[in-house]
Symmetry: C3
Subunit: 342 residues, 3 copies
């Protein structure tokens, strides 16, 4: 595709020669003359002067020695360029003869069911959805349109996925929540987990992530929310829309997470609490209680991020502070001629 | 079922009209006239006045505007009600024609083997156990009676599960432990992991949890213990009875965990140490050494919980403390007319 | 095997009678007369006096009441003894009739493909590699020679594994990285992940570990590196050679980890940064920035390990320090006859 055409399709302003042929995409330090690249993270700005790319997508006000596509959101524009130039492989419609599809299952038009997949009784799969090999859908599962479910994913009985949902390999949707009632002798008895999971439209769920079914009712992942790998979502949790949950985050049961929340890697959230809209928790934060709208929190237990940054700076100097305190005590004692009162 | 009959079967005292027909179960704020619900967590007590439930299971001394079932352990009584009213689906006995069962495997009466499951040589499965689709049992695995093994579970060679064991989807039992010997050049050589895993009766293992086989000997999960999702149990670990391990906990190799221990979410336990009976570790605790019987510990590295709570409260005020220390130094200096000795 | 022969094959000096028959391996406290055992961890030295083993592998200068094999590296020598005496089961060459192998796939000599495995178009598998049941290789995957890929492993399109690579059950190699571009309305759009994963020779990858494919280019795991279970490796990460990553570690995207690095359990590493050669991070460390060659770091955020140890010791005494500070303020105030300036 000519650079001029790419600019038009991305809605970017073109600076420089638009006649170059763009055939690929690459990171800025590896891009060659046929590649378009981008600059969004200032860490990589030093590569701008020396890039050999055919074109760079960048923000207004930046300059490069090669043709540029100017965008208010270079990362988004580049994501669209990648989608145009390297469209993801799409498995052909049809059911592999080795797949086990229950006769009562209803598959929409142009659905792909890969080798050795298992589709249970009463399952419904919407048009154009792709179920890769070794996907297992228990009975009564509903999958919307244009979904991509990768190999090794397990979806348990009665769970419902919206449209354009992407599930990476090995994720488990609808496993039993962790509910046990303790008796007088200290033994645990299973609380049957009879709820389901509802995954709304445009959600992505990472590899080896577990979203537990509700004890009663629904565990819900809201529209447009993205979960990374190895995330744990406990039973009866509700997550809002356009929220981002990074790798290895754990969310205990019955907690409510709002819209446009960001939980960075390895964050832990206790059960039965609320994280309001727009909250950001930095990596490894441990959240024991309510976090109010728009807060940025850090630490375990979580406190406001700027306070945490200051406290951690002092933490590293605690031995010195302790020494200074001892010295002061000694000096005051010498002034007063006696030890401090116990 | 009439409420009166439900009360009798649960062994609860009935307060109010026992003639209502109970057909379902629901959380207190969603329950309707045909539902029984419960109140165990005081957080939800405010819903008691307005519930529309057909009946509420609650502790002695509590009151509700609807018929009540009184129990010393409302959560346990409700768990039993759910089991009565919403019995979990039980797959029909029989072996799916697409399953690959080695001729030398021995299956007990009324065992269910789902589609595309793989049962290796010499495997024994006890009566009434259900192996869902895509379960893989390597050679020599032993599974007791009345077990439920969900789809995507892998059990490696020679591992043994007791009776009434439940394994959620995607868990791996008996993967190689992480054992490598380093040579003079700094290269690692695999230490073959030739032990097994023994899972005792009434254990539940969560989705995507990994329990490693012992290097030599046995990794053991004791009777009645419950492991949540995404837990890591290292090689040669021993876990006692009636212990609860929450999501994303990691236990390094050769550690011994006692009976009735509770490890909350994301706790990490170092290797070659002992956690004695009855210990509680709060979420994200990092345990570097012995924890004595009955202790409650928190923090990383773990200290006694109450001390940790106090220290974390001071931690949040460290910048202020540092400022006060500086001010004191200034004032003492002005009193003494000279700076403190270095 | 006679002990004398075992000594010769391990290159160990023999002390005592070499005529005993050694048929097994066992931990020091469980070993019997036919077993060889070892002593490497001083924690277990107390068992030396009472061991009933047929022989003990130990370091020079140690003594035991039974025949000994002396080695500079007892753990490595014992690992070799285990390999000799308990060789791991090797599945027989051949393709199970239930496996789904694309006609365009190329399998080397003596490859084993287990039941219900799925081998995609254009896949190449090197000589003697074993693919256990339920392995899924997407199209274009390359696997080297003498690899062992356990059941339930998923390898995504185009990813490449070297020779002698071991992958434990349920691991996912090449799932999409977590890349989304946010638009003006706060919605996230998928950045297609068009790179691959390259796993070099002699790597081991633990159960249920996820290694994401690069957004562009390559996510690389270097030669001889070992990853434990439930590890998350983000897109475009590069890990060097002979590095050890313990269970539940998370490494965010585009980070570079050097050679001979050790990350202990549950460590978290932020994105776009460098961990230089030889770094050690203790368990639960959170790394927000560059870590220089050979450093030992701890804490979240990470600081130098010895400083962290000292600070954590003071942390546990913070309430006492706060009290002493208050007392000093009171005393200084009484000296000065007025409160400190605000």
């Amino acid at each position: 595709m000519k650079l001029r055409e790419l600019a038009a399709r991305l809605g970017c302003e073109l600076c420089g020669d638009g006649e170059g042929e763009i055939v690929g995409v690459a990171p800025i330090e590896q891009a060659g003359p046929g590649d378009v690249t981008f600059l969004a993270n200032p860490r990589y700005a030093t590569h701008l002067a020396t890039t050999r790319a055919g074109a760079v997508i960048l923000a207004p006000g930046q300059e490069a020695p090669v043709p540029c596509l100017v965008s208010d959101n270079p990362y988004l524009a580049f994501a669209r360029a990648v989608t145009l130039l390297r469209p993801p492989p799409r498995p052909a419609p049809g059911v592999h003869p080795s797949a086990q599809v229950d006769p009562s299952a209803v598959l929409g038009v142009d659905v792909h069911v890969g080798a050795l997949a298992v589709i249970g009784a009463g399952v419904r799969v919407g048009a154009r959805s792709a179920l890769h090999p070794h996907v297992v859908l228990y009975e009564g599962v509903v999958v919307g349109e244009d979904c991509v479910i990768h190999s090794g994913v397990q979806v348990r009985e009665g769970c419902r996925l919206g449209s354009r949902v992407v599930v990476q390999n090995g994720a488990v949707i609808g496993g039993d929540g962790f509910g046990f009632a303790r008796d007088r002798e200290g033994r645990y008895h299973k609380f049957p987990q009879v709820g389901i999971v509802v995954v709304e439209d445009d959600v992505e769920i990472g590899a080896l992530t577990a979203v537990d079914r509700a004890a009663l009712g629904v565990t819900r992942i809201g529209r447009g929310t993205k979960l990374d790998n190895l995330v744990q979502v406990g039973h009866s949790v509700t997550i809002g829309e356009d929220t981002v949950i990074a790798g290895q985050v754990g969310i205990a049961g019955s907690t409510r997470i709002g819209n446009r929340v960001t939980l960075a890697g390895q964050v832990g959230v206790a059960g039965h609490l609320t994280i309001e809209d727009g909250v950001i928790a930095t990596a490894q934060t441990g959240i024991p209680g309510l976090v109010e709208k728009g807060s940025v929190v850090s630490g375990s237990p979580a406190i406001e991020n700027r306070a945490w940054l200051k406290s951690t700076a002092v933490f590293a100097r605690l031995p010195e502070l302790q020494k200074r305190l001892r010295e002061l005590e000694r000096r005051v004692e010498s002034l007063l001629g006696r030890p401090p009162s116990a």
